[in-house]
């Protein structure tokens, strides 16, 4: 049980970091951002490139986050803003297009080979429940805590945070009271891209074997979406809770259901089945998610 919970919290933190970005953008633009995980893959690629050019790790991470934020701002400026009044499906398709285009660009420029960069801090941190936990795993949980605290402070203590909330609730009224909706939208996308970039940089190094183009999208995006809906798509604390709940539930399922001989032979993908069932249960009994209010 211990190892399942530890691993679940680690992967849950990755879902939660991505989920925070998804929730931010949903609050700001009322759209599911399918490019969210690509901010992460682009950041991971930047770390890889910087590291293979001999730059030190902290600079590589800074460059990666900058690249992710730049991509977020670009997406907002050239894709989201021109489609401001478009139907939601159109906007959703546009962000999906950004994701597919980004994956294609990575393949086009670099080919489909597997790349890897070392974790930020090597070695084992400690052994809760006798489970060897690496520093990289600790780091991603710490990053989630740091971002969650920073976001909470941002939204409750600063005028800028208040402005973002105001625009999310009532764009017209916010605009009339002197808040630039366009600037707030850019800020939201920049912030979300920063979160996505951080998630990508940290989550990609969890896997020793490395990553391919589109890695974060293929492995984390759907679960991050499910996590943010479980938590409540309009709630930032919900995204954190949803991510951790989903991560732990998946690992517990893998350990306790996936290991049965019969299940192993006859029912692959117990993790995916659990995710789907959990999503349906939450949507049936709490349609607004665990912490969500009326959207």
């Amino acid at each position: 049980m211990g190892s399942a919970i530890v691993l679940g919290l680690v992967y849950g933190s990755a879902y939660a970091l991505l989920g925070l970005g998804i929730v931010l953008i949903y609050k700001g633009s009322r759209v599911f951002n399918f490019a969210q995980a690509e901010f992460g893959t682009v950041a991971a690629f930047t770390v890889y490139l910087a590291r293979s050019n001999g730059l030190p790790y902290p600079i590589a991470i800074l460059l990666a986050l900058a690249a992710a934020v730049l991509m977020g701002l670009g997406t907002e400026r050239f894709v989201v803003q021109p489609l401001f009044d478009a139907p939601k499906v159109t906007l959703l398709v546009a962000t999906a297009g950004v994701a597919l285009g980004s994956i294609a660009l990575q393949l086009f420029l670099g080919g489909a080979k597997l790349r890897a960069y070392p974790p930020a801090i090597r070695g084992t941190a400690f052994r809760p429940f006798g489970v060897a936990t690496t520093w990289q795993q600790v780091l991603i949980v710490l990053a989630l805590v740091a971002f969650a605290v920073a976001l909470a402070a941002f939204f409750s203590r600063t005028f800028l945070g208040l402005a973002v909330l105001a625009v999310a609730q009532e764009p017209t009224a916010a605009n009339l009271s002197g808040i630039s909706v366009k600037r707030v939208s850019a800020l939201v996308w920049g912030l979300a891209a920063l979160l996505g970039g951080a998630a990508g940089v940290l989550a990609t190094a969890l896997q020793e074997s490395g990553f391919t183009p589109g890695y974060v999208t293929a492995n984390f995006l759907i679960f991050a979406f499910v996590a943010s809906v479980i938590g409540g798509i309009t709630s930032l604390p919900g995204a954190v809770l949803g991510g951790l709940v989903l991560g732990v539930a998946q690992q517990v399922t893998l350990t306790y259901v996936g290991e049965f001989e019969w299940v192993k032979n006859n029912l692959p993908g117990s993790q995916e089945i659990m995710t789907f069932v959990l999503l349906l249960i939450v949507l049936t009994f709490r349609p607004n998610g665990l912490l969500g209010k009326e959207a």
Partner: protein, 363 residues
Amino acid sequence: MAVASLERDVVAERRATTVVQWLPRIAAWLVIAYLVLLMPLRLDQFHSDRFALGVIYAIVALSLNVLIGYAGQISLGHQGFFGVGAFTSAFVVTSQGQSFWVGLIAAGIGGAISSALMGLVALRVKGLYLALVTLAYGRLAQESLFLLPAFGGGAGIEAPRPAGFVTDRAYYYLCLMVLVVVVYTDWRFVKSKAGRAVNALRENEQVASSYAVNIRTYKLLAFVIAGIFVGLAGALFAARGQRVVAGDFEFQLALLFVIMTVVGGIRDRVGVVIGGVFFALFSDYLADFLDKDWAHNLLPQFVNENRDQLGSVVGAVLLVITLIKYPGGIGQQLRPVRSWLTGGPFSAGHSDGFVEEGVRGRP
């Protein structure tokens, strides 16, 4: 009112009537007929195989058009239903020893059942939340359903083509026949009472319901029809590759399906068909084009190395431009051409009943 009738008169005057006016239009129709019916005969096997894929994608786009366009339900798990069709037909043909045609029908039924199950969810879960459920379903299908031991447990199963349609060229015509049936069904469906009911419930469920439209029945019906279409497409896809594996139905494929439908032009039958064909063929043709000697020498080395991927990059840029400039997609772009082809003037103004705006999705 008076203005409208006046305009109609003007248009009537401008409609082609004489033989001279019709000649270029007939010539254009002949070119289209040549491209669709005869060109695959002149192509090598590889390209008629790609053409078959284009036709299959067109059927998928028509299926998504029923859900997104008519019923207003976003499906991001359509590769799941597509795969159900593919694996059902392969299972029926290979493991049960039935003929291809039985497999095709079974695929339609399989697609309809799995889609109707999602329809039951859609009765409760709405808008973007439903989109998310379909997304999770697609992942479940890819990682669990298609890896079941009955479906070869990851190794996949054989999906032979029917006798008489074994070559890629012949198989293209088989796909084309199915497309014709699907287009006809779609056309009749929209014209029927059920089609009007489905369109009404998209616009406003409460209003539709107060006009005695049975929301449950017609929403499920839309899912069933979309499921049949995509199931058939899946069966054709399976036999096209002659083997199905779970890896063919990745989540990116679902995004591509939605993209090609929306770029084709929601609620525009011709548009979505062209959208499907375009996204199936564009990438390869661009790569072929870059393969020509002069292009090869002109371009930098790294472009030539990964030129297969250039189509997807360009496609993504085209997608965003299309969405911003032409919300009605390819269908909207081609409206003057279609007006001209049917004898009208070369203008987008008077279309016979094409809907102007895109989807009005509500979250």
